[in-house]
C-alpha cells in the first residue's frame, strides 16, 4: 500500500524544552490511526506540524507526497484542499450559519454555482447524521456533539483524502462519543478515507482504530494494532491501559 503520510525524525524544541526527540512513523492509505500519549507529550503540536501550522525544529513531514516543511505557500494551498482537519472544539466560524460554514471551502476552492452548493451542503449535513434543517442554525445554538459533526462536515466538504482529528470525542457523552466513532469509521470505510487522530479515548482505540502510535518522552514507544500496543511493557502504556481495568471489572 501507498504511504500517504510519512513523518521522519521530527525534533521539536521550544526554548530548552525538547518536545519531540526523533519521531518517525508512516501511515498508509485507508488506515485509521490513533496517536496517544500523556498530557504534554506534544501530540497536538505534532498534529499541527503535520498540516503545516507549525514548523518542527528538524526532520520532515511528507503528506500526500508533498514535503510540508519545505514547500511554498502555493504548494501548501494545493495540499490544503486534499486534507481535512477537525479542531478540538470544532472551530466553527461563529459569525456564519452552519450551512455557510460548510459552504466556505466550497465557495473558496471550487467553481461550483450556488445552485449546486446549497444541495451539496444539505447532503454533507445528512452525511454526518444531521438534519438539513440544522443548516439554518448558528454554531452557538448547537450542542457539543452537533458542533463536532458540523465541523466534520466542513472538513469533508472538499472530499479530502486524509482527515485529521484532534480529540474528536473529548467533551462528548459516552453515547455521543460512540456514535461519532462509528460515523468516522463508516465514512472511512465507504470513502476510503485515511484518518489520523489524536485521542485520549480508550473506547475509541478499542473500537474503530486499525493502528495505534504511542508517544512518550519525545519518542514513539509503540506502534501497531491496539492489541499489540497493549502488550508493551513500557510503564506508561501499562498505566494507560490499566487505568481502564477497574471500570471493566465494575461492569461485570
Amino acid at each position: 500500500m501507498e504511504n500517504v503520510l510519512e513523518v521522519r525524525d521530527i525534533v521539536t524544541r521550544f526554548g530548552v524544552d525538547v518536545v519531540h526527540d526523533g519521531v518517525s512513523f508512516a501511515v498508509q492509505r485507508g488506515e485509521v490511526v490513533a496517536l496517544i500519549g500523556g498530557s504534554g507529550t506534544g501530540k497536538s503540536v505534532l498534529l499541527k506540524e503535520m498540516i503545516g501550522l507549525l514548523r518542527p525544529t528538524s526532520g520532515s513531514v511528507h503528506l500526500l507526497g508533498t514535503d510540508v516543511c519545505r514547500s511554498s505557500e502555493e504548494e501548501m494551498n494545493g495540499l490544503r484542499r486534499r486534507f481535512g482537519m477537525l479542531f478540538q472544539d470544532g472551530a466553527l466560524f461563529s459569525s456564519l450559519s452552519v450551512a455557510e460554514n460548510i459552504a466556505v471551502p466550497l465557495r473558496e476552492h471550487t467553481d461550483l454555482p450556488d445552485a449546486l452548493i446549497a444541495p451539496l451542503v444539505g447532503f454533507k449535513l445528512s452525511l454526518v447524521g444531521l438534519s438539513p434543517d440544522t443548516g439554518r442554525k448558528t454554531p452557538a445554538e448547537l450542542s457539543g456533539g452537533m458542533r463536532k459533526r458540523v465541523a466534520l462536515a466542513r472538513a469533508l466538504a472538499l472530499e479530502p483524502e486524509i482527515l485529521f482529528l484532534d480529540e474528536p470525542t473529548s467533551g462528548l457523552d459516552p453515547i455521543g462519543a460512540r456514535a461519532f466513532d462509528s460515523l468516522v469509521r463508516a465514512l472511512s470505510d465507504s470513502l476510503g478515507l485515511t484518518v489520523f487522530m489524536v485521542t485520549h479515548d480508550l473506547d475509541t482505540l478499542l473500537s474503530i482504530i486499525d493502528r495505534t502510535i504511542a508517544l512518550s518522552t519525545g519518542k514513539v514507544i509503540a506502534d501497531g494494532p491496539v492489541a499489540a500496543v497493549m502488550r508493551s511493557d513500557h510503564p506508561w502504556i501499562q498505566e494507560y491501559f490499566s487505568a481502564r481495568a477497574p471500570h471493566e471489572e465494575g461492569n461485570r
Binding site: A99, L116, F123, L127, R136, L156, E159, A186, S190
Partner: protein
C-alpha cells in the same frame, strides 16, 4: 465526456468515465442535467470510472432520482467495490430534502419599531444594572473587607497612567488648533491677548473633559467590554458566581472606582497640556511670551471653570464604566457577540458623554455657575 448513455437491449446503460472528483463537478453536473432516460430503469457501468467522490456521486444520484430512478431501479455493474460502497452511502444519506435558507426581509416601519423597542430594553436594563451596582456599593460600605484593592489599583494603572500620553497629546494638539484659529481672528482686532481667556476657558471647561472622556470610552470602555465579554464566553463569570462571589463586586466595582478616580486626573493632565499647546502658539504666532500668558491666565481663568471640568469627569466616568461593564456581562456565548457588544459600548458611551455634557451646560447655566 463524463457520462456515455447507451441503449443495450432496451435498457439504459450509463457508462461513467474518468475522474469523478469535486473539481470536475460543475462539468459533470451540466452533463448529468442534460441526461434523458427511456423509462425509469438504468444500469450504472463503472468499468471506465477511475475515481469517485461523494459530491460527484451525489450530483449523479440526485439527477437519477429526479428522472424517477430510485434505489430499486438503479443497477450497478463492473464497478470497483469502493465506488459501489460510496454510492450506497450517498444513496442512504441523500434522502433528506435540501435546505432552503429563507431570509425574511423586514419593512422600514418594522425595523424602526424593533430598533425603538431595543433602545427601550437597553435603557431599562441599564437602570436595573445601575440599581444592582448601587446595592453592591452599599454592601461594600457595610463590609469594607469586600473591597478589592489590588484589582482596583491595577485597573487604575491601565485606565489612567497608561492613558496619560495619549490624553496629553490629543489635548495639546487641540490647544494648538484652538489658539491658532482664535488668534487669527483676535489679531485682526488687535485683541491677541484675549486668546489666553478663550483657550483657558474652553480647554478647562469643555474641551479637555469631553476629549479625554471620549478617549477613555474608546480605550478603556472597549477594553472592559471585551475583557468581561470573553470571561463570559469562557464561563469565568459563572465560575465566580459558583465560588460564592459576586461578578459585580469582583469585576465591575474595581473598574468603576478606577475609572471614576482616574478620569478627573486625566482631565487635569489634559487641561495642562491644552494650555501648553495654546501657550506655544501664543508665543510663536502672537508674540505673547509664556510669562505674559501665565500672568494673564491667572487673572482671567476662574477657578470654577477648572472645577466644573473636573466635576464633570467622574460623572462621565461612571456612565462609561457602567455601560461598558453591563455590555460585557450581556455578551452571549460566541465571539461575534463580543465584537458587537464592544462596538455598542463605544457608541453608547460617546453619545452619553455628549448628552451629559449638554445637560451640564444647561443646568450650570440656570444655576449661574
Amino acid at each position: 465526456m463524463w457520462i456515455a448513455p447507451e441503449l443495450e437491449s432496451g435498457a439504459n446503460v450509463l457508462y461513467l468515465q474518468g475522474r469523478w472528483r469535486l473539481a470536475h463537478v460543475p462539468g459533470i453536473a451540466a452533463e448529468v442535467a442534460a441526461l434523458r432516460l427511456a423509462g425509469d430503469h438504468c444500469v450504472l457501468d463503472g468499468s471506465r470510472l477511475e475515481e469517485l467522490d461523494t459530491a460527484a456521486g451525489f450530483v449523479l444520484l440526485r439527477r437519477l432520482a429526479e428522472l424517477g430512478c430510485i434505489a430499486r431501479t438503479v443497477e450497478v455493474r463492473q464497478m470497483a467495490e469502493a465506488h459501489a460502497r460510496l454510492l450506497t452511502l450517498v444513496r442512504e444519506r441523500m434522502a433528506a430534502p435540501s435546505v432552503a435558507s429563507p431570509t425574511r426581509h423586514r419593512g422600514a416601519i418594522e425595523r424602526v419599531g424593533r430598533a425603538a423597542v431595543l433602545v427601550g430594553r437597553i435603557l431599562r436594563a441599564q437602570v436595573a444594572f445601575l440599581g444592582r451596582v448601587g446595592l453592591e456599593l452599599a454592601a461594600l460600605l457595610r463590609r469594607p473587607g469586600l473591597f478589592r484593592l489590588k484589582e482596583t489599583v491595577s485597573q487604575f494603572e491601565t485606565v489612567t497612567l497608561d492613558a496619560i500620553g495619549i490624553a496629553a497629546l490629543v489635548t495639546f494638539l487641540i490647544g494648538i488648533v484652538f489658539a491658532y484659529l482664535l488668534g487669527v481672528q483676535a489679531q485682526r482686532f488687535g485683541a491677541a491677548i484675549f486668546v489666553v481667556d478663550g483657550v483657558g476657558l474652553a480647554i478647562c471647561r469643555e474641551l479637555s473633559p469631553i476629549l479625554v472622556a471620549v478617549i477613555v470610552a474608546g480605550r478603556s470602555g472597549a477594553a472592559f467590554t471585551a475583557q468581561i465579554g470573553s470571561m463570559k464566553v469562557q464561563e469565568e463569570t459563572d465560575a465566580i458566581r459558583t465560588l460564592g462571589l459576586s461578578p459585580i463586586q469582583v469585576l465591575v466595582v474595581p473598574r468603576l472606582l478606577a475609572i471614576m478616580t482616574g478620569l478627573p486626573l486625566l482631565v487635569f493632565v489634559g487641561d495642562l497640556a491644552g494650555i501648553a499647546g495654546g501657550m506655544l502658539i501664543a508665543s510663536l504666532q502672537l508674540d505673547i511670551s509664556p510669562t505674559a500668558f501665565l500672568a494673564r491666565l491667572h487673572t482671567v481663568l476662574p477657578l470654577k471653570a477648572v472645577v466644573v471640568g473636573l466635576v464633570k469627569a467622574p460623572v462621565f466616568a461612571a456612565f462609561i464604566a457602567l455601560i461598558a461593564c453591563r455590555m460585557g456581562l450581556a455578551v452571549a456565548r460566541d465571539a461575534r457577540s463580543v465584537g458587537e457588544h464592544t462596538t455598542s459600548t463605544v457608541v453608547q458611551s460617546i453619545v452619553w458623554v455628549i448628552v451629559l455634557d449638554a445637560l451640564f451646560a444647561v443646568v450650570l447655566q440656570r444655576l449661574g455657575i
